[in-house]
């Protein structure tokens, strides 16, 4: 169901990790599936110098995270904003139907990181950011309470 390129990025994701002294951090949780992506950027001369991501999500979420970090690396803020989820999906040779929201997740996390850097969002916020962007069933506060507790059994 996934293209070879999706599987390739999924198997060998680029830019995995975190940046402790990041200039911008974007965290987004999908209101559709509950998966989440966190993107860290380090800015140099108004360009994205370094970028890392962490993803709790499906194959498409991991592959799009990997692809978007590749696509925006070295770009200016404005250029980076121009990288849409469709562009990421296209660069990956397409995504299966029903998986477009996963590419949304990556693009939205990227924009949150840029917002954070540019001070539009709650800068370096300690509070997790909430996604209200998809227009589907509303956003969910991340992380949810349950996530912190060990499962009850």
């Amino acid at each position: 169901m996934y293209s070879d390129l999706v599987l390739e990025h999924f198997s060998n994701p680029r830019n995995v990790g975190s940046i402790p002294d990041a200039d911008g951090v974007g965290l987004i949780g999908s209101s559709i599936c509950g998966d989440m992506i966190k993107i860290f950027i380090k800015v140099k001369d108004n360009r994205i110098g370094d970028i890392r991501f962490q993803t709790f999500g499906c194959g498409a979420a991991i592959a799009t995270s990997s692809m978007i970090t590749e696509m925006v690396k070295g770009k200016t803020m404005e250029e980076a904003r121009g990288v849409t989820n469709e562009a990421v999906a296209e660069a990956l040779g397409g995504l299966p139907p029903g998986k477009m929201h996963c590419s949304n997740l990556a693009a939205d996390a990227m924009n949150k990181a840029l917002d954070d850097y540019e001070g539009k969002g709650p800068r370096k916020s300690r509070k997790p950011l909430i996604d209200k962007g998809f227009g589907v069933r509303g956003g969910r506060e991340m992380p949810s309470e349950e996530m912190k507790r060990p499962p009850e059994r």
């Binding site: 509950g34 989440m36 709790f56 499906c58 029903g98 499962p151 009850e152």
Partner: protein, 401 residues
């Protein structure tokens, strides 16, 4: 290295057994007649279908006339619920089912709600068990139909259907209350005797027990009021119209007989492998949890949550290593909601999204279990290394992602 293929998704479907395929073949192009035809090849087909019906009835412990062949588990569930509900509409409009049923039952109940029925969805405990007292309390003088599955397809929990049926009939103020069970997942491992189960209707699906896809059985107890959901010719005793799928019917019976004959040996084999798999995973991989009931579960089902990683990502990696399993997240089916069954057992959406289902079959081997156990820890470790949830746990006990 040669690419392995290890199939551990027998709850999704099973390969047609070679002897089943062989039994079916003559009815495609040799004895291809319409069973309603009075000539030779028609009568050959009729005889084969009759024999198949007799075989199925002997395994269910019922009369051949109580066996209806359908196009699968979904149709059997639809026909049972709609057929009985519509027939009893004048007497009452209340239906009871559980929150962990297959969508073939749940979505049919939702449809029935739209056309005027009231449905009570019984919740389950943390193991996926329906509580018998809840069932008794839910029965009203309007209740006409109860549908509780014999075993759950995702977590494998086996429901005490015979107790439910007995208690429901004893508690009902009237005798017309009907009991249906979706026995699709139980066919190759559980006793299907309809009198022991005490049910009026029971659904089976052939492709879950090494029969052909697109074939099912609906047991309908004699005297049960029923309005056919597929109308047309007089086939299946006027209860399901359409020229018989003779090859499919023959294959269904051959597969069910095989399942009944091998039930004990196959269950023992599967359970041993399944237990090795569960124990191996729980001991070799941190933060893993068994979903479903520890003992009252299908002998071939292992449903496990791998905290901090998403099920589909593990599955995809397993597939790259040649292992076929399935996830409770059903992401690919276009419904990204975590499994309704896992949520019904009270676990968090994240843990539900982190679940995998392995369902073993008679052809699986110890070597295959060992293979899965050898590749799985590395996969989970790699995915956890990129999970924001793990990072959060390490930084501050998970208090802030």
């Amino acid at each position: 290295m040669e690419r392995k293929t290890v199939y551990m998704d027998h709850a999704a479907t099973t390969p047609v057994h070679p002897s089943v395929l062989e039994a079916m073949l003559p009815y495609f192009s040799r004895s291809y007649g319409n069973p309603s035809g009075i000539y030779g090849i028609g009568q050959e087909a009729r005889k084969a279908a009759d024999e198949a019906r007799a075989t199925v009835s002997s395994i269910l412990g019922c009369r051949p006339s109580e066996v209806i062949f359908t196009s699968g588990g979904t149709e059997s569930d639809n026909a049972a619920l709609k057929g009985a509900a519509f027939a009893l509409k004048e007497e009452g409009n209340h239906i009871i089912t559980s929150t962990i049923e297959h969508h073939a039952v749940l979505n049919t109940c939702q449809y029935l709600e739209k056309v005027g029925f009231e449905v009570t969805y019984l919740s389950v405990d943390q193991f996926g068990m329906v509580n018998i007292e809840d069932l008794e309390k839910a029965i009203t003088d309007k209740t006409v139909l109860i549908s509780i599955m014999l075993a759950n397809n995702e977590i494998g929990t086996i429901e005490p259907v015979s107790e439910f049926a007995k208690s429901a009939k004893a508690n009902a103020e009237h005798s017309r209350i009907l009991f249906h069970t979706d026995a699709v997942q139980g066919a190759s491992v559980l006793d299907l005797d309809v009198d022991k189960l005490g049910v009026d209707m029971l659904s089976l699906s052939a492709h879950k027990f090494h029969g052909p896809k697109g074939m099912g059985v609906l047991y309908l107890r004699e005297g049960t009021r029923f309005i056919p959901q597929q109308t047309g010719g007089a086939q299946e005793g006027n209860r399901r119209a359409g020229t018989e799928n003779v090859a499919g019917i023959v294959g269904t019976a051959a597969a069910l007989r095989l399942a009944a004959e091998n039930r004990e040996a196959s269950s023992r084999h599967c359970q041993r492998l399944r237990d090795r798999l569960i124990e191996g995973i729980l001991t070799r991989i941190e933060d893993t949890y068994l979903n479903g009931h520890p003992t009252l579960r299908l002998p071939n089902n292992a449903n496990i949550s791998f905290r901090y990683v998403e099920g589909e990502a593990i599955l995809l990696n397993l597939d790259l290593q040649g292992v076929s399993a399935s996830s409770g997240s059903a992401c690919t089916a276009g419904t990204e909601e975590p499994s309704h069954v896992l949520l019904a057992t009270g676990i968090s959406p994240e843990m539900a999204h982190s679940s995998l289902r392995f369902s073993v079959g008679p052809a699986n081997t110890d070597d295959e279990i060992e293979y899965v156990l050898s590749v799985l820890p590395g996969i989970v470790e790699r995915l956890r290394a990129m999970s924001p949830l793990v990072a959060a746990r390490e930084r501050n006990g998970g208090n802030d992602v």
